[in-house]
Symmetry: D2
Subunit: 454 residues, 4 copies
């Protein structure tokens, strides 16, 4: 394993969300790296520089990681060995039309980033930026490994790849973490033990990016599929809640009823949280707020996002003044991925990649999530098998929708994206209303649509 | 071309619908055949025997076709050279729940046979019968060519094939006829000529069975795509009606607005009538009766079907008493297909076959409609090309739904079919209501579901 | 069908070979065209101009075809509606090394143009020219239909396509004609009738270009496969000769023993003459001249080609002086193809196209021969089915070899083509000798290899 | 990981070859197992029982493995958790015709088991036995993992699978070990270090079974491809020998010239020893014994095999009398595979499996070798990528040949296997001689061909 100082460019993520998970994790590895931070909001990048270097200065870390905020993206990217893409254009206020306007047409979204009408809007905003970064990477660090965290994952990865086809690109997400944590809890409860962690739960995962499934889960060499069935059957109606009614105020907590229902219906375990899974389906679980409540989950709202942002902002000063960012033991697997790519041993991790056969019955080229064998300078998908036909049927429409969204970008033609919008599973309007709704939603982000007018 | 008398088994179709088109057409070919008629309603078969032989007895026909009603299907099938399957189980009264019950849940169907919630119900009824016929054909006439007219076409063909994999099977439908007639009319109007017939319009057709598209239409070696675009742009909003407002009372007449809209949106011309195309899409055109009216088409209702049946029944006596069934010049292409299969020259005709590459971007094995080269003892699909991604996206979900319906048959498990029901594009209910609706619709045909209880 | 005068560019073919077949055939159609002739040997083009116009001037023809020899290829190509490519670089003397040098290494070729070591050499010579024409066509007549007759067919078509991907390209060959004529003769003999022509024999054809097979042959709606088996079994050992021992002096005559052997071994009928089929196989039939004689065919030699050329040259003056070129009723199907592409009705004809599924078990993109439906501005392959595994196994190696030859062109790297040379089925040398042989053969055409040195 | 005593059935291998590698290895794991030995030669099985239990009795081992020789295969297989198939029918004397008869026809084989004319003969002998074991496994231990070591690997695995499609089957071979050991040696030499072992060399491997390739090799996170190129260029002509001229007497030693030549020609490193790689190619390296000697390898002969067998037999008594079988540290990876399949952690190992996309450009279903992720009750191939076209071209013909050999088994028709024989790359005879040779070779094993006469 290379022992020189690595150059890691970290683009976006200034809003603390992902950065604050990554910083303590990196400190905890044996990597030696310079992390160059770039965010359109320089204040954020600077804050993260200070917070990151604080940890380093205290010593008592395994890694040797220094942070530097950059004025320009080019500065961060030049000669990078790794690029982490974690940006998101637009303001929370702009998300109002994206998330809530459809409600006036009787369409309820759950806030997911990879499906729903909002994901089309989101993609239209972010794809031109992805293309710009792709070109910069081609010129400034063509050999870098690019770890994408931007969403919608599929559209971003496809654009990144299409614009620089030689890019070494892998998508990382924490989508599957909650499901594995749920299973770890079940193991503890069932076996009356403690200390089982997410990473102790081994899975075979497959599906389109954002809507993936487990068909095999084990703990210490024992299959947990029978245990999961037991829970699903027992708690399918009532839900299985860690904290009763938490789901009402926390969209990331849920009663797992959607997971149980999909499992009992289709045979595989959804690898994502309930509100995300729900949004990939027709309005079975999201018909209206009552239906959602019955299924024991609540949607992400702009108000909720604002509250979360407020909480974080208030902590920035504290950490800048010297409080050490608390460890969040395994909030991401990005440091392990970097380590493995540097030659630090094999890693099996769930990632997003273009399908080259790892999911047999999804179209070639679709961005899919499966395990991969990550080793020195290589990421190779593990053949995950076939999705049951019924799940493939639910998934493939998204593949085509995503392709239409990407094509809208390529041809700078918003009408093409409208076809994806129309064909989203949540769309229940007639054509007239759907047309209106699309116009209004585009209007809400019009400052981001200059690219499409050229 | 073989000159011995052919044995043609004609199963079902007693309700006059298809038979009355075929009888005069057969008379008009140079075929020499014995047509054995079998229908569960023997009266119908007998009526057709008389009506068919009446034509023969008058002479003045090219063909030498005699008709014989049979008491048992086996009798009709034994040693058949050709088998025409045209049966439909159940009564019109039973169709009330199939066609109209979903309206109470806010779901409006248009009466199509190949899509919509009703097609799931329809398939559940007919698949066990298909399997029975498949077995009989295997034993009584394994070398016969089987021309399927039963619907839903895809499910019927898949079951017929799965149960007797060596069956020489081809699906014939008149789905594309109306669209070609429309185009023929446009040509007459535009060129100020008359006498252009459906068969003068050459097309390249592709798509899943029931939802096929033209990407190339010609008349006397001239492309008509520009002409069609002209009409679509001119009449897209107003509709293009042969008889103003006829669509209000006749579900087979329409203003072609759906066709124009889909063409302008996706680039290909739907090869089916508007209400059928509409039913393959999300509720864009079928949100409610008002939306349908705005698009200038009306759904088929049970009342309408009863009226049609009444009209026909009243004519039976007339034809039995000697009136000659009028020619309907080219209402089907079945006689030409039989002729070509006997070695009477090459025929290019649009048929349904399992996809083996003729539509590049639909799954292998899906029942698709394309042109085929039909010649002595062979039907070979013509490579039709690729569907645009957006149309493929609309189509593939149906492929998976149809697969689920067939699997429900194979595993005698109605829950599997429910997944197709849930995932039908018209389904806009939450899961609770959808479950109720399915139960009620099954209840409406419970006498046909014995097979699934074994 | 368009009634204006068509522009047809005819490139090469000056050596009379193909031109003399085409000229009387064109005269016999109802086409109205200007044929612009270009050949690097202007004398040839001029001779054909005179000979072609002679026919026209005599009247008594259906078509209205005038000929004009051009000084430059560009002149012939500008605004062409159809382009016929029929050129072949190099002299007969140069063919000595190509055809006969391997004999000194114990390798006997039969003179075929689509396989054998010589085809690699042939391809290396012609591919740069194909690329030039491709570029000219792109600029001068991008909408023209290009009918390729140059060989090796697969390499030429792939280069033509790769260099101008929008080219409307179809490969026409007379490869299958002799086999159909043989079958027509068998029918006459067997049925004691006369006048059965090649075009009366309907076939389903499939295989890689140059090595295609019939799995279905009919005459007037009757399968001839049983008849062919009878002949194969009866004449498999003795051969079936029209004129006893003609094969000894005429490489285009043969005893059909190879065809019979391959048919009995693999189940399909080779659609090409024996010496061509033999050359696609390991040295089963071509081990040495004795083996070839035992199988009743003889190879094409340079001496034979010179003699043929001499014969033709001596006739040129005669035809230029007014003798009318005799009809060779259906020596090609090019005029029919042109007619069909102009909208003059459907044509089913065997052509070479990139595989898009028409032969199920050959790789996508490989140039394959199957029937196609040719109609106004479109050529669509007919799905021909699957080759038996054993034939696919014999064929696929050629697909890869051809790909290597094309790659050698693209990368201007003769070493890449050496891999195809090494892997040709006739290659029985050790690596040392093979290397020597390749160098010597390249040396024989070194004046044509400038392109590879740039 | 399951802690009960495992049942492992070990079928064949009595000739000490593989068993003597496995026994000490098993002793060295932490497995607890009963190994039931069955061999048609009961003496051998008994010897292995004693030798195996000797090790156990001495203690000082990590594992707890007991051995039991069985009278019947059924006894060994009943309720097995793992089945190791390592049998080989026939005597060494019978191998004379298989290995040496072709020499009289000018065809030189190298003794490989997975290619060459001999592999066809070998397959014909062993396939009926594979089918028998398949049926026994289906009835006696359907849930067992079957680890196949029988050759020819592809044919054996295909038959095993076809006869019991639910079998959990994986092919293990030591094919790639020597190449990795070579690379380990180069690393030691180059870096002037010692102790680098085979397992420290990480590779990406892909290809058909028996003819696989590395496109990526690393040691401690450093790519070794540049180092290998250096060696190939330096030693391509002279060879790189551990012990000068050892290759003359030891067919498992070689000068690596074939590997270097194939690497320089095609870009990937052959993962097998030279004589095996040579036999998958046309007679480039095997034209005659002189050519082989020039490439610095020698073929396996029956005499050599007899000598090896003699050596081993003489040692049996010694080990039975108490001498402990020496460790051969990592002669196989079978114990690790068993451990991983029991849930003892993830293992990445090169195995043979049917292709489901792990090698993109080899046909689906072909038995291919790639890395796999082996974990509790699952073996999942790692997507290895695409072979270069030229290597795919060399490989695919074997896929078809192997399919023909399997078909010969299924249809009990030796003529079908003859097509594979004819199409083997080493075949340079004309058809007449080839036919003779095949008959003679079959005659040499006629006692094993009863199955084909039923």
């Amino acid at each position: 394993m290379n022992s020189e100082r690595l150059n890691i460019a970290y683009i976006g993520g200034g809003s603390c969300n992902f950065g604050w998970k990554l910083i303590p994790e990196l400190a905890n590895t044996d990597l030696c790296a310079m992390v160059k931070l770039y965010d359109t909001d320089k204040t954020c990048a600077l804050a993260n520089e200070v917070i990151g270097n604080n940890i380093h200065d205290r010593g008592n870390t395994r890694g040797d990681i220094v942070y530097l905020a950059c004025d320009e993206a080019e500065e961060a990217l030049r000669d990078a060995d790794f690029v982490i893409l974690a940006f998101e254009p637009g303001t929370l206020d702009e998300q109002v039309s994206q998330l809530h306007l459809p409600e006036t047409y009787g369409i309820f979204q759950t806030g997911g980033e990879n499906s729903g009408l909002s994901s089309v809007i989101r993609a239209l905003k972010i794809m031109p930026l992805c293309a710009e970064y792709s070109h910069m990477i081609e010129h400034l660090c063509p050999n870098a490994w690019v770890i994408n965290l931007c969403t919608p994952m599929a559209e971003c990865m496809t654009v990144l790849h299409n614009e620089f086809t030689e890019m070494k690109l892998v998508g990382a997400s924490s989508d599957t973490f909650a499901a594995r944590e749920l299973i770890a809890s079940m193991v503890c409860e069932k076996k009356e033990i403690s200390g089982v962690r997410r990473r102790d739960i081994k899975t075979n995962v497959m599906g389109i990016s954002g809507f993936s499934w487990f068909d095999d889960i084990t703990y210490e060499g024992e299959s947990l599929m029978p245990m999961f069935r037991e829970y699903a059957e027992k708690y399918g109606d009532s839900g299985y809640e860690f904290r009763i009614n938490e789901y009402k105020s926390n969209p990331d907590a849920d009663g797992h009823r959607v997971k149980f229902d999909l499992f009992l219906r289709f045979g595989l375990i959804p690898a994502v949280i309930d509100r995300c899974a729900a949004e990939f389906c027709p309005p079975w679980y999201t018909k209206d707020t009552k239906e959602m409540a019955a299924w024991k989950f609540s949607p992400v709202t702009v108000n909720y996002r604002k509250k979360m942002l407020g909480d974080k902002t208030s902590k920035v000063k504290k950490y800048m003044n010297g409080d050490v960012l608390p460890k969040s033991a395994d909030a991401t697997e990005v440091p392990e991925m970097i380590r493995a790519l540097c030659g630090g041993g094999n890693l099996i991790s769930a990632v997003s990649l273009p399908n080259r056969g790892q999911v047999e019955n999804l179209p070639a080229g679709a961005i899919v999530e499966t395990n991969a064998l990550i080793s020195r300078d290589s990421v190779r998908a593990v053949c995950a098998g076939r999705l049951p036909d019924s799940i493939a049927g639910l998934s493939v429409r998204h593949v085509y929708n995503r392709a239409a969204v990407v094509k809208a970008f390529e041809e700078r033609d918003l009408d093409i994206a409208f076809n994806a919008f129309l064909n989203d599973p949540l769309m229940t309007c007639g054509l007239t209303e759907a047309t209106e709704l699309y116009r209004e939603m585009l209007s809400g982000i019009r400052t981001h649509l200059l690219y499409y007018c050229e």
